[in-house]
């Protein structure tokens, strides 16, 4: 392929890369950080309601966990442990500084209770 044709390909790739960057930038800026709160109820270390939590990057998230059993509810990636006791509510507040589909587990059995999705 001649030099001029190779240049056309390079130019088009550059356009693709730039437009892709602009698209992502434009679509991932939400309306600024918010405060979000989730009230979770864990039953027998097996299920959690609600189970799919959604937030945006840089939101301040408060999670309140209420469980009918003693044990640890673990939020992976953020590495936050909720040490629960029957009848008590355990709370943690943190800044959503990582994007992820973070698993929420009943630590003793590694059973997945749900996920926290932090999107950009």
């Amino acid at each position: 392929m001649s030099r001029s044709r190779a240049l056309i390909v390079v130019a088009l790739v550059v356009v693709f890369v730039v437009v892709g960057g602009v698209l992502i930038y434009a679509n991932t800026r939400g309306g600024g950080p918010k405060n979000v709160t989730f009230d979770l109820t864990v039953t027998r270390g097996e299920s959690m309601t609600p189970s799919n939590l959604k937030a945006r990057h840089n939101d301040t998230i408060t999670i309140n966990v209420k469980s009918d059993q003693e044990g640890e509810v673990h939020l992976h990636e953020y590495d936050i442990a909720f040490e629960t006791r029957p009848g008590e509510t355990v709370s943690h507040t943190f800044k959503a500084d990582k994007t992820c589909t973070c698993e929420i587990e009943w630590e003793a059995t590694s059973h997945e209770l749900g996920t926290l999705e932090v999107s950009p």
């Binding site: 392929m1 390909v9 790739v13 693709f16 698209l23 994007t99 698993e103 590694s110």
Partner: protein, 463 residues
């Protein structure tokens, strides 16, 4: 339902967010548009046969370094250390994958990082291969000739070994059990060392050792090219553009075609098993496999992997028939099919990099705190790193998505270019060469779309 104790990937759970729909559509349109532009530009080529000669530049300092024994000594020492870590930590360390260095060395540092670096730089396995290093040290003190001659088996033994490795990683459900990984590594070490001593080092490595064959192919994509004389000594080291090494003359045969297709299908399988479509498929088959427990799980998944590989192979062969029909030249089908199979390697490599991106930039860091107490025995070898928290700086979803779509589109373009140059060298008339490219282009678009589709799927888990 199956116990969630059987972890599915070699390692931990993934946490990346799927590529959003708008980006998926943008990348897909980009792929189609750029492919179209490339075809229009190719149409102006009068003769393609000179195409496979590519520019390369000698690098005197690299040649000097390569001629010394040091790269092999250092690489071999790193490789043997890695092997020892896997065996010792695998047998004596924690049984939890996340806390065992063996899992990190095998699935992240070896399987994800070394493959991708070899594509970026050149065949690193040539330097790191621990079994070759052990053989060379022993052979230095006890020189002996191989007592047996390897029959003409092509690389079929390597195909079988690679398939077995893929089963360990993807279908056995055992990849996250360090003891089992260590047993597999010891068994493979014994087989490889015995093979090298019985049949000759290079004979065994080049035909039966799956990773030597694999990295040989991956290394062709890399920019470092070492030219050797008849005795295997380095004559000169060159730098070349990425990808063009795949156009170099290569041994041909169906064994090599199957190997390349297996590279594509195992990678795709790893991604596909995390998609909702696969979950539905598994649920439909549940009445058959569930009564057999883990064995049913293994057989079901292995069946899925074989099915996918055969599908990939049949699709590839069918498209190659189209290429040869439209090229209208009398060509050796085996040689042509092998040559074109290699042009798919860029697509496999970029998908591998996109797929394993978060493993490399985040999970790789989780090994650092383990340095304090690698076997989980309560040691304090390096207390400073015990509280190390991995940085997610490179794993923000927007960065990941950007890297993924750019990589996939670049890989696609390189593959289309290579395939075009290859067609120019196989089919004599430029017009025929161009015509023959339509099926190949369609096939590449299909593969690239599959890669993008997998990345755009929400990650689900079998539970």
């Amino acid at each position: 339902m199956l116990s969630s104790q059987i972890l599915l990937h070699g390692f931990g759970q993934r946490f990346d967010l799927q590529v959003p729909l708008y980006l998926y559509l943008f990348a897909a349109c980009g792929v189609v548009f750029l492919s179209f532009v490339l075809v229009v530009l190719f149409a102006g080529d009068t003769s393609g046969s000179a195409g496979i000669s590519y520019p390369r530049r000698p690098v005197p300092w690299l040649t000097r370094v390569a001629r010394t024994p040091w790269p092999r000594v250092i690489g071999g020492a790193v490789g043997v250390s890695g092997l020892l870590i896997v065996v010792v930590a695998g047998f004596f360390g924690s049984s939890v994958a996340f806390d065992n260095p063996a899992e990190y060395v095998v699935w992240i540092y070896f399987w994800a990082v070394t493959v991708i670096l070899s594509g970026l730089v050149g065949n690193l396995w040539y330097l790191l291969n621990p079994w070759a290093a052990i053989h060379d040290v022993v052979a230095r003190f006890v020189p002996r000739r191989a007592p047996l001659k390897l029959p003409r088996v092509g690389v079929w033994p390597a195909v079988v070994t690679y398939f077995a490795f893929a089963c360990l990683e993807l279908t056995s459900g055992m990849a996250s059990r360090p003891q089992i990984v260590a047993v597999a590594v010891v068994a493979y070490t014994v087989i490889t060392l015995a093979g090298m001593f019985l049949f000759g080092r290079d004979e065994w490595l080049e035909h039966c050792e799956a990773f030597t064959v694999l990295f040989g192919i991956v290394g062709r994509f890399g920019p470092v090219e070492a030219e050797r004389d008849d005795r295997g000594a380095i004559r000169e080291v060159y730098l070349r553009p990425w990808g063009v090494g795949l156009l170099q003359p290569a041994p041909s045969g169906w064994d090599r075609v199957v190997f390349v297709i297996l590279m594509l299908s195992t990678l795709a399988f790893d991604g596909i098993t995390a998609t909702p479509a696969w979950q539905d498929f598994i649920v439909v088959l549940e009445p058959w496999w569930e009564p057999f427990g883990p064995l049913g799980f293994f057989v079901g998944r292995t069946f899925g992997l074989i099915l996918l590989t055969v599908t990939f192979l049949l699709v590839f062969v069918a498209f190659m028939e189209g290429v040869m029909y439209l090229g209208q030249a009398r060509v050796d089908a085996k040689v042509t099919v092998t040559a074109f199979a290699l042009t798919l390697v860029p697509i496999a490599l970029v998908y591998n990099a996109a797929h394993n991106y978060t493993y490399m930039v985040v999970y790789a860091q989780y090994a650092v705190p383990l340095l304090n107490d690698p076997l989980q025995k309560g040691w304090h070898l390096w207390p400073a790193v015990a509280s190390f928290k991995p940085s997610f700086a490179l794993a923000q979803a927007s960065t990941v998505w950007y890297a993924q779509i750019v990589l996939i589109v670049l890989g696609h373009i390189v593959a289309v270019l290579l395939s075009h140059l290859r067609a120019g060298s196989v089919f004599k008339s430029a017009q025929r060469a161009l015509l023959s490219q339509y099926p190949m282009l369609l096939l590449m678009v299909m593969y690239t779309f599959t890669s993008l589709w997998i990345l755009a799927q929400p990650i689900t888990r079998e539970s």
